[in-house]
């Protein structure tokens, strides 16, 4: 299965205008799925805009936008099968949605409610805020699946900055040693807050770091959903059904892959960030020419899969889905203060009971208003 691409060659399918690049093979995706891919990207873009605006209006806390990164998230998440898992960082709202997490859950989480982090039945791990830490969880879960004979792949998202953390190293190294069915998906959006990619590592690519762990690294145009879909599918297949490590392989591991998806975050790191302090508008504009949404739209229009009418319909359905999610999230009752004490352990300890009772006494004595002012 293994292709052993040179990690310096970037996999690309679509050019900046949505045409198929010379020599590129278009992945085998049916029309409905292509439409879904497009819709999920539109949904993510619209959700993102609304979420930023909710934060500006004080209706939500700090929020990390994803505009520009839709192809990487949607293209990769769609390459997974039902039994597969994703381990997100904090920015993968679109990938989580593809995998079955409601937008209202995502909103609830960023509205400060842990209940938004229980993704019902979706095979999605909770948001991980400490950088790179989720990589070990993904490796561990993939390892557990392997040990218990489950046939699933585990895809873990993280940023370019995350590759500098020790947990990145330990996670990929364990994955290589135990040859687990994991796909490490690096959303290289060029910036870790204000720190540019070149400051994270002197290595020519991030993909080549895979060799340090004895497996393959792949570089892909992360703003090209078809290319992302393709390399992720390949990696998922390899995770589940590896061949032997080839002679030119960097080591013994046969299942894991590191994918570096080159992309750009159009907006701020989070709503608390002001990117104009550290980067030029020019740079942003240059990258906006690679915007994945018009690229896929052009490709699908060209193929006759989309037209003005269906594009408009998608626009409307996306708007209404986001509007109802916001509505649902905002209508959710605040969590009860007691929630705080209920999930520390499976059962409350005596101390927690006392503390919960103490809080209730204070609430009775003074009322919430006084207590929270």
């Amino acid at each position: 299965m293994s292709t052993h691409r040179d990690p310096r060659d970037r996999v690309q399918v679509l050019d900046e205008d949505g045409g198929v690049r010379e020599g590129a093979t278009v992945p085998d995706i049916d029309e409905d799925s292509l439409t879904e891919m497009y819709r999920e990207m539109r949904l993510a873009r619209h959700f993102d805009r609304r979420a930023v605006s909710l934060q500006r209006q004080g209706r939500m806390g700090t929020y990390p936008p994803l505009s520009g990164q839709e192809a990487a998230q949607v293209g990769s998440a769609m390459a997974l099968a039902d039994e597969d898992w994703i381990f997100p960082s904090y920015r993968e709202h679109a990938a989580a949605h593809v995998r079955g997490v409601g937008l209202d859950s995502t909103l609830r989480y960023w509205m400060g409610d842990e209940r938004g982090n229980d993704p019902d039945d979706a095979n999605v791990f909770p948001v991980a805020v400490p950088i790179a830490t989720q990589i070990l969880h993904a490796t561990g879960a993939a390892w557990a699946a392997d040990l218990t004979g489950d046939d699933a792949a585990f895809l873990c998202y993280f940023g370019d900055g995350a590759t500098s953390e020790g947990d990145f190293h330990e996670g990929l190294n364990f994955a290589g040693v135990f040859d687990v069915p994991a796909v490490f998906f690096c959303n290289n959006n060029q910036w870790a807050i204000s720190v540019p990619r070149e400051r994270q590592s002197a290595s020519a690519t991030l993909a080549q770091k895979a060799h340090a762990y004895g497996f393959e690294g792949v570089l892909v145009d992360g703003m090209d959903p078809l290319a992302v879909y393709q390399v992720t599918s390949d990696a998922v297949s390899k995770a589940k059904d590896p061949g032997p490590a080839g002679d030119d392989a960097p080591g013994r591991a046969t299942r894991p892959t590191l994918i570096e998806a080159i992309q750009y975050r159009f907006g701020a790191h989070t709503t608390a960030d002001d990117p104009s302090v550290y980067r030029d508008d020019d740079e942003v504009e240059r990258w906006k020419r690679k915007d994945p949404i018009p690229r896929l739209e052009a490709y699908l229009r060209e193929r006759g899969i989309l037209d003005d009418e269906s594009v408009d319909a998608i626009g409307e359905s996306v708007e209404s889905e986001v509007a109802s999610a916001i509505d649902a999230a905002e209508r959710t009752e605040r969590p009860a203060p007691a929630e705080m004490f209920d999930h520390v352990h499976a059962e409350r300890t005596e101390r927690l009971d006392e503390q919960a009772a103490h809080l209730e006494r204070l609430r009775e004595r003074y009322g919430d208003e006084e207590l929270l002012e």
């Binding site: 982090n117 229980d118 070990l136 969880h137 561990g140 879960a141 005596e350």
Partner: protein, 332 residues
């Protein structure tokens, strides 16, 4: 102590660790052991000896040398449904895993409101007194105890070791299980062959007494008992309470004993400032101040980095120092 009817073996504390692991692994296929040198080598203290042969390399796993890696992957395994029992080779080498432990293991349940949980037992030999190199003698239970979402256990007898370890492994949440290596082989005790549990969160009265309460745990239990016996020769009747579980702490047992005696000494190896003796003192004085007859004494390590072994015996609390505090507290 044991009232079991079953067959017993006469085991040291470290043998009880091994026996506890073995019987839990037999009971539950999801229990796996992983860590540095736990496999073929059976652990640097031989705590996992024989398990590799008994259960194979898929359940007793030698890992690369990376503590955050061990705990972090264990969290993923636990969330996926296994019950990993990672070993940290010495508690002084747990720090690289501190972030995974406190930012994830301790919080996975609360973060996901119970959808994901982390049934994992982090075992580590801990404490000083064995002439070991730097970083091999740490006693930092307080930092784990301060972390909501973690349970912390320190056994002091072979019987308790097996039972507490079983309870920890069956617990649905993460437990830090600190093994007092100074007494790994110090004495033997009859331990049932059958699996059994000793409930987490319950202190044990090791010596009943009327005049004064001494609270301690782990390797300090024995010198404390010696000090109490020696004080008894002069008519000071000290009660010795082994806390066994540090989080959740058995506040009831502490307060009850103190209400009876009105005087207390707390003994631990960890440095004094910020050590658990402070927590215990605060607990007592909120709940039983009006019973208090003398200041509560703290017999602890000093506020210095644990010294290399030429000076470690000056650092470690031992029976003379404990007895001195018992006498002073009794006389105050």
């Amino acid at each position: 102590m044991s009232t079991q009817e079953s067959n017993t073996q006469n085991l040291t504390l470290v043998q009880a660790v091994r026996d506890g692991l073995k019987s839990e692994m037999e009971r539950d296929d999801d229990v796996i052991v992983l860590g540095e040198d736990v496999g073929k080598n059976g652990g640097v203290f031989r705590a996992t000896e024989g398990l590799y042969d008994a259960f194979g390399g898929d359940r007793v796993i030698d890992t690369p040398l990376a503590e955050s890696g061990i705990i972090g992957t264990s969290i993923g395994m636990a969330a996926y449904g296994l019950r990993p029992v990672p070993e940290m080779q010495f508690s002084g080498f747990m720090y690289p895993a501190f972030d995974q432990l406190v930012s994830h293991a301790a919080r996975l349940r609360t973060r996901s409101r119970g959808r994901f949980t982390c049934p994992m037992v982090v075992r580590a030999p801990y404490g000083g007194g064995i002439r070991a190199p730097e970083h091999h003698s740490e006693s930092k239970e307080a930092i784990y105890t301060h972390e909501a979402g973690l349970k912390v256990v320190v056994p002091s007898t072979p019987y308790d070791t097996k039972g507490l370890l079983a309870a920890a492994i069956r617990d649905p949440d993460p437990v830090v299980f600190l093994e007092p290596k100074l007494i790994y082989r110090a004495f033997r005790e009859d331990v049932p062959e059958e699996p059994y549990t000793v409930e987490l969160g319950e202190a044990a009265v090791r010596r009943e007494g009327e005049d004064l309460s001494v609270f301690t745990w782990g390797a300090m239990t024995r010198p404390t008992l010696e000090a109490a016996e020696s004080a008894a020769e002069d008519g000071i009747d000290a009660e010795v309470i082994d806390l066994r579980t540090l989080s959740p702490m058995d506040t009831d047992a502490i307060v009850e004993s103190f209400k009876k005696t009105g005087r207390a000494v707390v003994v631990h190896e960890a440095p004094k400032t910020g050590g658990l003796a402070g927590e215990i003192t605060a607990t007592i004085q909120t709940e039983a101040l009006y019973y208090q007859e003398a200041p509560i004494a703290r017999v602890t390590g000093f506020d210095v980095p644990y010294p290399l072994y030429a000076l470690e015996d000056y650092y470690m609390p031992e029976d003379t120092r404990i007895e001195d505090a018992i006498r002073e507290t009794y006389g105050a």
